[in-house]
Structures are given as C-alpha cells and as structure tokens.
Amino acid sequence: MTQYIVQRVIQTLVVILILSVICFFLMHLLPGDPALSLLGEEPTQEEIERVRAELGLDRPVIVQYFSWLADAVRGDLGTSIKYREDVTSLILHRLTPTLHIGVVSFVISVVLGVAAGVIASIRRGGWLDSLITISANLGMAVPNFWLGILGIYFFSLYLGWLPVQGYVSPAEDFWESTKRIIMPCLVLGCSSMAGLARQTRSSMLEVIRQDYIRTAKAKGLKRKVVLYKHALKNAVIPVITLCGLMLPNIIGGSVIIEQVYNINGIGRLMLTAVFDRDIIVVQGCLIMISITVALANLLVDISYGYFNPRIRYR
C-alpha cells in the first residue's frame, strides 16, 4: 500500500508540472497584449516598452516560464496587472468560498447519489426505482445555471425560505452560512449526483448477479449482510472512478454557480480576470484549480486502492 501511495504521489507531482506548462503557455497563446490592456487608450511606443520590461514580457518565453515557475514554487504567483495586488493572497482569499461550496457539494452528491443508486437497485422495477431513474436522467440533462435561477425563483422569491444570493463564512455565522450555500451546493452537485446514482444502480445490479453473491447467499447470510458487506463493497469500485471524473465538473461548474449566486469565489475572480486580460491572475487561478483537482484525484486514487485489494497488491 505504501509503495502504491508513493507511486501515486510521484505521478501527481509530474501531472502538476505538466499542468503548469500548459497553464503558462496557454495564456501566452491568447491574443491581446496585457501591456496594452493595462495602459488604456493610445499608449506611446515607449510606454508599452517600459511596461513590458516591467512585467518581464520582453524576455524569451522559456525564461519567463522558468522564472514564473521558480516564483510559483515559493508561493509567489506574481502581481495582478489590474489590481496591483499579490496574486497568491488574492487567490487564497477567494479560494475559501469555492472550496467550501465545492467540498460540501461533493459530499452531498456522493452520499445522496450512492444512496439513491443502492435504493433503486434493491427496489429494481418498483416505483421508487422508476422515480430515481427518471430524476437521475432529468438531473443529468438540466443545465445548472438554469436550475440555479429556477431555485432562486422558487425557494427564495416565491417561498422565501432561503436568501437569494451571497456568501457568509461559516466562521462568522454557521447557520447563515449554511442557509446561503445549501442551494448552490445542491445545484452544483446535481448532475454529479444523478450520474452517481445511475452508476451505483447499474453497478449494484451487475454485482448482485455475480457468483460470489450466490456464494454469500448459500452461506446463509442475512440479506442485509449480503447486500452491504458483499455487494456494495464491490459495487463502489467503479463509482469511485466516477467520483474522480466528477471533480473537474464541480470546479468548472463553480464559475457559473458563483456568477448566478453572486459569490466572490475563485471562479468569479478568474472570469473577471479573463475579461480584463489580467494574465497573471488567470494563470494563478488556473494553476491553483489544477493543483486542487490533481490532489483530489490523488485522494480518489488512494481510496480506490483501499477499496480494491487487487490494485493495492500489484
């Protein structure tokens, strides 16, 4: 197991390095010179040269990359062109709401999705199964910005149960914070939850047909033991893979959700930075998101090893 984890960690580091290259060069492929956007209308040639030198944009791209990487490793992601502020602290500040919503949304969708899938598989062919399957299909088809707006209209404006928008830190006021994030979390996790429910259902149905389930039944075990100890532990293996694939969805979805619910998270930061051609900030956000996703995938991989002994002992 230790060897397995070490291998995964090394792999993750390599992935992050490759991501840093992609993040960096991707931004340089974008049209538009950041110096121009910084200087406003009709700058002189000398002014452009001066700003470019100041930002280090006059050096060869390779040199730029390595100096950026060296700084980034030390935690310095540069200074925002627009805000003239330290990008690292800017991002860390904005990362809290995004992570908060992301993690809660992930947990909710895994718990509810897997539970719904298991229930559907046990009640196969019954009305509960049909209900879950239909809802899951709907959940996957509905775009989340639309669901977000609909949620605001129904729960906030019509019923008045929840606040319309905004974010409050749980450290400040836990109850208020929960009230504000519950809807964005559900909306954000909706499609993942639906996907998980479907995957769990089909995976359970697949496992229940296996020979070792018959063996377990032939041992005279209780139905519950057969289902939860023997079947579910096998059925979650493909589900974990899906969890890993779901993470980028949640992070990517946060860009839209934060816009809909007016939350100052990293998604919004990145969006505005893109419009402002604030390359340094966009780069910082991208690398931050990439690292988060890579680390989350690392966790998924490790838990995969925990659930599947065939992986652990390779």
Partner: protein, 673 residues
C-alpha cells in the same frame, strides 16, 4: 428412519421473453447420511437448478418453484420463507454448497479468512477469535500451506485450484451434514481435479457428511459415486447404484452417453457413437418422452404414450423408458453396429514432415511501472521441437499454462517468435516478414476453443465461412463463391440454407461446425485445433470428433490437436506430445505413450483421468501428484517437475534434463531412466 434429504416431485420454471422454461420438471431423489450421490447430465439438463431450488437459491424472478417438497430431516424447506431464520440456518449451516467457478465464486474485496469466519461465526456461534482459529484449521485441512499468514490474503492471490480448496474449507467449516459440489472441479486441470475430489471424498467419509456431486464428467461419476441420477431435459431419466447403471444402463440416453465418450481403455479404432440431434428446447414441452427424437430404441408405443414415469427395473435401478433395454443389451453395449474408422496404417501418412518445429522459444516480457521497464520474461514456450508428418495427427496435451496454445499460435505466427525455426513444407517461416504471411495462412488454419466468442456475432454464417475465399482470392465470381460456401457448409453437416443466419441462432455444436467450415475454406493442408471440442457437451463432442476424423480422411489433412482431455487426444491422435511448463517432457506414438508412459508427469496425468467404469476404477492404482503447476515466471531450478515428482532424486534439483530418445520414436525428458 427417513432420508437425510428427500426431494419429491420438484418443479422449477424460468420465465424468459414471455416463454416458460420448465428447467426442472418433476424431479424426485434422496440422499442418505455419509453417501456420495452423483447427478450427471449435459448442460441445460436442470441438474444445477435442481440443487439450487431446494435451498431457494435460484433468482426469483425470473425463476419460480412451482411445486414439490424438499424434506430435510423431515422439514419441508419449500415451506420456509427464503429469508427466514430457519432456512438460513440450514442453507450454509446444515447444507454446504461448492460452486463451479472457483475464479468468481469468492468475493474479491474480502480476505479469505473473513469469508470463512463470517460463516463460522454465523452458524457455529463462535466469537471472532475462535472463528479465526477454526478458519486456520480448515485452511490447513484443505492443504493450503502457511494457513496463519494466508488467511489474510485476498482471493486473487490464489490459483484456481487453491480457490476451490478455499470454497471447500468455507463450506466444511460449519460442519454441514450435506455438501453439494456443483461442477466443482469442471474448470480445473485433471491433476488438480483428482487432488480436490480425493480430498473431498476423504473428508466426507471421515465425517459421515453426505456428498452430492453434480457433473457432466462420467469418469468422475464412475470413480466416486455410490448412487447415480442421470438427468435429461429437466427430468431424472435413470437412477440406481453406480455399478449397475454403468454396467447395465437401462435408459437409451445413458446408453448413448456411455457410447459417445472416448475412454482411455477403448479400442483405438472404435468410432464414437454420437447421440444424434440436439437436446430439446425446454419451452412448451410436449407431453412425450423428451428423448424420443434422439432415441435409437424407440418403438411405436413411445410416440403414442405420454412421457414415461420412472419405473423400477430391478435391484433398485429405475428408468423412465417404455422399452426393455435389457432385451437389446448387445445393441446397448455398442457391441453390434460398431463402426470402425480408417486406421492410421490405412491412411496415407507420408514420411516427409509437413511441419517441423526446431527449438522454438516464445518469451513474453513482463513490464512494470509507467516506463514499461522489463523486469522478467515469461518463458511460455522454451525449446520445443517436434515434427508433424503429412496426414498425421499430433496430439499436444498438458495442463493450463503449459504453453500448448502458445505453440499453436506461434506456428501460425500469431505470436512473435523469440528464437527457433519453424519449417512448413521445408520453408522456414519463423522469420518470414508479416506481409508474406498471407500465403502461409492459406495453407494452415485454426479451429478455436470457444464456439461462442470466436465467431463474429454480427456476421452472417455464409460470410464467416466465405471470408477466407475472398481474402486469399480463391474464387473468381459471385456464383463460384456461393457454390463454394454451400459446399463447405455441406461438408461439415450444415444445411446451406442456413448461411444467411447469424451465429447466435445456432447451438454450440453447430457453431463449432461453422468454425471448422471456416478453417477448411482456404483448402489448407494443416489445421491447428486448439481445444476445439472442450467447450462442447459429451453427445455433441462425439459428433465433432467424428467429423474431424472423416474430414482428415477425405481431405488428407494433418492436425495439430491441442487438448487437455487425454481420452480425446488418445482417440484422435497418431502421436502424442506431453507438455509441462513450456517444454515437451514426453513424446511417442499414442500406443506407447498411453500403455508405457515413462515420464512421471505423464504417468500422473494418465492416472488422474477417471475411466467411466466403476469396476475398473476400483482396481486402478492412483498416483496423485502433489502441488500445482508452478508459474513459468519462476520455473524451478533443475528439472521443472522435480518439486512435484514422486521419483525426484538429488540430481533432479540440479540438472535440467533434455528430451532424449529412449527407444525408436519415444522421447522422454527425465533423468531417472
């Protein structure tokens, strides 16, 4: 006192696509304490479903137990709810089950210890610590070394034979009164099968546990059964004491089965007598003897009367047949109407080899990590040399993993050859560039093991058979093509009108005929049969063996016949080579090899094959080799067989013997000769 288990008139149905399949149709049987009873029948005869119905283990829906009584110590199990406390205590507690597929019957994510312990804790009411002790004890008892350590291992860390031992340990750990082994050794190699069955018998005999063996292998039945139930189409057609049923079978189906299988003690030239036709469809059965369409003893009476009931025919033997087989005993014993096939002497076997394999080596690299670093080599085939003369059949036998399939595929250049030469009609094809292989493959073809997955399910049968004709440009126009395809299908005994159908519309035996027609299409002179008949039922097997023999004679084909069934290999081959761990350990003409085997492995292998005759089985001396085939990754030093060999001496641990000719045409790789 009543029987331990008595089943009366059990009926089980399955609903599929609106049809009702009567899988078990009025089966009655009993088992007494300490008795070994065998259920024998072909696939689909309902023998497994019968056993599972009793414990309500069949999936419902689509299954449904319609009627009957299953009395265990006088309690009717069918009256109990499937999830009730009482039934669960009997299922698993009093009656243990061992299933067919050892590879898939254990839960892959739980340790074997946990899987044994949970049964022990449930039924023997022991605590975890005691249960662990019990599990270790049982694992030792079934012959797995280092039980204390291995109890924490997962199923994938064990071989198939080992997993079956674990299944047995699991079933026996709760001290059941009855053990049901449902095709428990079918997926295993012969030597492993012998080890497991011997062990099972010793255990049940010492604990007076009753044992039901469900199998299709008549040899196994003859070796172990005390009483037999023969099943056909969901009904018991014959039952009785093992000796009686084998000596005087009273049902035409039993007669047919016994005449359809090749035996180790058969006269070589006897042609197998297949049971004609196919097993009946169990949907909407007419009320008539189910065996009638395939029966060679039937009379007018059989056509008019409803399906016969089991009736006593004396000495406790029962048969469901109107005809007095005893009056036709000579016919039944296959003593009249015996057909003989053309003997090897009469067939034209030329002296020139069509195929000559010289020191063939096929190694597969084992890689690790994401850089695909090579850490070892699997020596799947290591220094194999043999010749195949034109018109001859060479049998290649050995247990799974011995490299026989790798040899076959390498000859067709489906695998890359590491070293060595292969001469086909004098031309060295081992190093032939890929683009020049077309012509070679026209002249050799292959028949595969699995008739289900080796045919493209989306292709029409005519296209499957005709494809080689187009690939090798053997026909000039459409008309010629159609004629050739029709001819090929006729040759293998299929109606050419069926060529527009797709494979799933055919039965297993018919599909294998399609595979043979495809192999014949390019008019090859050498055909490699890779376990071509292993997946087929006994009665169908005989049809295909006869077909292969007829074709060999008609078209003067040479076969490289690969199989693990030694009786079949003996029946069809002129010469036989025995492989062990990637090498040939013994090679001779069939007679010498079977009558005077020199290598200890060959001797053990032959001794492990049961002969379908209880009287012979009782007298036979058995050599049970210990252990399992080692992995080709860590081949033992010296002679690869030394760690299992009963005759191994010190020298065997050091020196790797070469294949030496001990008498003309008989080569053995053993130091102790």
């Amino acid at each position: 006192m009543g029987h331990l288990l008595e089943v009366k008139n059990l009926k089980t149905e399955f609903k599929t696509d609106g049809h009702i399949v009567q899988a078990v149709d009025g089966v009655s049987y009993y088992v007494d304490e300490g008795e070994i009873v065998c259920f024998v029948g072909e696939s689909g005869s309902g023998k497994s479903v019968t056993q599972m119905s009793g414990l309500q283990l069949i999936p419902t829906p689509p299954g449904r137990i319609v009627s009957g009584e299953v009395l265990y110590k006088g309690i009717d199990l069918l009256k109990l709810k499937p999830e009730s406390e009482e039934l669960r205590a009997i299922r698993g507690g009093e009656i243990g089950f061992i299933f067919q597929e050892p590879m898939t019957s254990l839960n892959p994510v739980l340790t074997i210890g946990e899987q044994i312990m949970e049964a022990v804790m449930l039924h023997l009411k022991l605590n975890r610590q005691q249960a662990r002790q019990r599990a270790i004890e049982m694992i030792k008892k079934v012959g797995i070394p280092d039980a204390e350590v291995r109890i924490n291992d997962y199923p994938h860390q064990f071989s198939g034979g080992m997993r079956q031992r674990i299944m047995i340990a699991m079933a026996l750990s709760v001290e059941p009164k009855l053990l049901i082994a449902d095709e428990a050794t079918t997926a295993l190699d012969v030597t492993t099968q012998a080890q497991i069955l011997e062990m099972l018998r010793d255990i049940v005999k010492s604990t007076r546990t009753a044992l039901i063996i469900v199998t299709h292998n008549l040899g196994v039945v003859a070796r172990y059964a005390e009483r037999i139930y023969v099943m056909y189409a969901g009904t018991v057609v014959e039952s009785g004491k093992a000796e009686d049923v084998f000596k005087r079978p009273r049902h035409p189906y039993t007669v047919g089965l016994l005449n359809a299988i090749p035996r180790l003690d058969d006269p070589k030239e006897r042609k197998l007598v297949p049971i004609k036709g196919l097993p009946p469809n169990l949907m909407n059965k007419p009320d008539q003897c189910p065996f009638l369409p395939r029966c060679t003893f039937s009379t007018e009476k059989c056509h008019q009367l409803p399906a016969p009931e089991l009736r006593d025919v004396g000495n406790g033997q029962r048969s469901a047949c109107y005809v007095d087989i005893e009056a036709n005993r000579e016919k039944a014993n296959g003593q009249i109407e015996v057909e003989y096939k053309t003997s090897a002497e009469e067939r034209k076997i030329k002296e020139d080899p069509i195929l000559k394999v010289n020191q063939l080596k096929v190694y597969f690299p084992v890689t690790r990590g994401w850089l695909q670093r090579q850490i070892a080599e699997i020596k799947a085939v290591d220094n194999v040399s043999f010749q195949l003369r034109e018109g001859e059949t060479l049998g290649l036998v050995g247990e799974s993993g011995c490299g026989k399939t790798t040899v076959a595929r390498s000859i067709l250049r489906l695998y890359d050859i590491t070293e060595g030469d292969i001469y086909f009609r004098g031309q060295n094809i081992a190093k032939l560039p890929k683009r020049k292989l077309g012509n070679l493959r026209r002249n050799m073809s292959m028949i595969f093991q699995d008739p289900f997955s080796s045919l493209n399910p989306r292709q029409r049968v005519g296209d499957i058979v005709g494809e080689p004709l187009i690939v090798h440009k053997l026909v000039n126009n459409r008309k010629e093509y159609e004629e050739k395809v029709d001819h090929l299908l006729e040759m293998v005994g299929l109606d050419p009108h069926l060529k527009h159908r797709v494979p799933h519309e055919f039965s297993g035996g018919q599909r294998q005929r399609i595979g043979i027609a495809r192999a014949l299409a390019s008019d090859p002179s050498l055909i490699v049969c890779d376990e071509a008949i292993s997946a087929l039922d006994v009665s169908i097997q005989a049809q295909i063996i006869n077909l292969l023999e007829d074709l060999r004679e008609q078209l003067n084909l040479s076969y490289l016949f690969i199989a693990h069934d030694l009786s079949v290999v003996r029946h069809i081959s002129d010469r036989v080579a025995v492989m062990y761990l990637g090498r040939i350990v013994e090679m001779a003409d069939w007679k010498t090899l079977y009558e005077n085997p020199k290598h200890p492995y060959t001797q053990a292998l032959l001794s492990a094959v049961p002969i379908p005759d209880p009287e012979i089985e009782k007298k036979r001396e058995r050599i049970i080799v210990k252990g399992e085939v080692p992995s080709p990754l860590n081949r033992p030093k010296g002679c690869s067989f030394h760690n299992r060999c009963p005759m191994a001496t010190k020298a065997c641990y050091e020196i790797d013997p070469d294949l030496k000719e001990v008498e003309p045409g008989h080569s053995v790789a053993c130091l102790n000769l």
